[in-house]
Symmetry: C2
Subunit: 269 residues, 2 copies
């Protein structure tokens, strides 16, 4: 299997994300290794040795994807025995011309703590945890989005991802049988209707997920799952609540779609 | 302010993450807009109009960063009135030569649901939530990492990020005064010592964070924060628990460091 190295003088998350996106366009498997925090020339030489060793042990030249800010460290990696792809510099050099500005390489600016957005994001994570699963309906004034749906349809991972990736304070509320019997939103939610977004899910998938938690219960029975999903979708239509089906989508897709529909601004971190 | 568009036929998370990394090398501000799910030629033409409009309203040509899999859609965007940077294709074309393989463009492979890693990741998120804040010490057999530390030192966001980004099932446990009095690990933790990683924090920062939750309490007093941090670091040293200081680091940096020290494999998503 072809060896792939993701290397950075920071967390290497950027190198991983883009490298993975690029490699996913090829229908083959790779042996992937991530090496973050290559912050000294000494460490860079160690990594170069590791790359060269891998080349001598395999027929195929290793692929290297890196986003290294420091020029000297980058040079050491580029000169190792590999096919190096430089994410940052490939785009920074032409941008310098286009913007008429000189880049000012600064370490840890991408995933560092030194910006206001970072603390807003930690606040959003704390908010979403404190307002997970209908724990409290008192703080909904502070919610930017309120996700609703039946138990286990994907509300919690979606709430946390909205907070963590996009810094959006998200509460979530699981409908209980009382709400379903009356086909009404609880009154605490009604006054925040403009913030509400619904999730739904295929009843068969819901049955599978609930069975992992509580097998052979009424809660996980296919009959119960079908009933709840039917009722909840009826409620969404009646109340004109926008909703999406989570069955075939990842949290990234679900949350990107929610933000698109609700028109929230995605904040960059 | 220079306008920047992040565009994709998927979630646009890749375009955002990389674009942000590249632009953070320049010490200037940008007006950033993200447009995900550009999946049809019709939508692509709409977006091209939006870009052209922005050009006609501003002196500066807008910057476009895109990761569009579909060739026809990509072409429409590239031909709009902008400086386009193509994250995928810039690297895919040379890779085709290097790998001797033809790329097989597939939509939603990057942030889609169609891989085993995805459900492992959702399982890890659920595990981390169920085992947050010492809620349960019964399931520690299933933990891959157990984060420990005093209240409000960053355990919960770090646990969730380890689960969400890297798919690592992470429990966390806040030390209580009983543990500190005896300077001993609780016996439930002792048998999992090899999985334990400690967090610590500057007492002044801890005092600020706790004061936001409970101002003027003993809990948030600087004296109490100093005492707890001193004790917890003593315990880490005594028990030889690896630990890091979270004060000046983001969750990305903290978790990347934890994975580096513990030697866990980062799984790509």
């Amino acid at each position: 299997m072809r060896k792939v190295f993701y290397i950075s003088d920071g967390t290497a998350i950027t190198a991983e994300v883009l490298g993975h996106a690029v490699l996913s366009q090829f229908d083959t498997k790779f042996d992937q290794i991530t090496i973050p925090f290559v912050e000294t020339l000494e460490k860079a030489h160690e990594v170069a040795c590791q790359i060269n060793k891998s080349k001598s042990e395999n027929d195929d030249e290793p692929l290297v994807f890196h986003s290294i800010v420091d020029e000297d460290i980058r040079e050491v990696i580029n000169q190792s025995n590999c096919m190096a792809h430089d994410f940052l510099n490939t785009f920074v050099a032409p941008l310098e011309k286009q913007l008429g500005l000189k880049a000012e390489p600064t370490l840890h600016r991408t995933h560092g703590i030194a910006n206001k957005a970072y603390s807003a994001r930690i606040d959003a994570i704390n908010y979403s945890l404190d307002n997970d699963d209908g724990i409290s309906l008192k703080n909904l004034d502070d919610a930017e989005i309120i996700l609703v749906g039946v138990s286990r349809c994907g509300k919690t991972p979606s709430s946390l991802y909205l907070a963590m990736q996009f810094g959006i304070a998200t509460a979530n509320y699981p409908f209980i049988s009382q709400d379903m019997d009356s086909l009404e939103l609880p009154k605490e939610l009604k006054q925040h209707k403009h913030k509400i977004f619904g999730l739904t899910i295929d009843p068969n998938r819901l049955h599978d997920i609930r069975s992992q938690r509580r097998a052979n219960s009424q809660y996980s029975s296919l009959r119960q799952c079908r009933l709840e999903v039917k009722d909840v979708e009826m409620l969404y239509r009646k109340e004109r609540i926008p909703f999406i089906d989570t069955t075939k989508h990842s949290v990234e897709e679900i949350t990107a779609k929610i933000i698109e529909v609700t028109g929230h601004k995605r904040t960059m971190f």
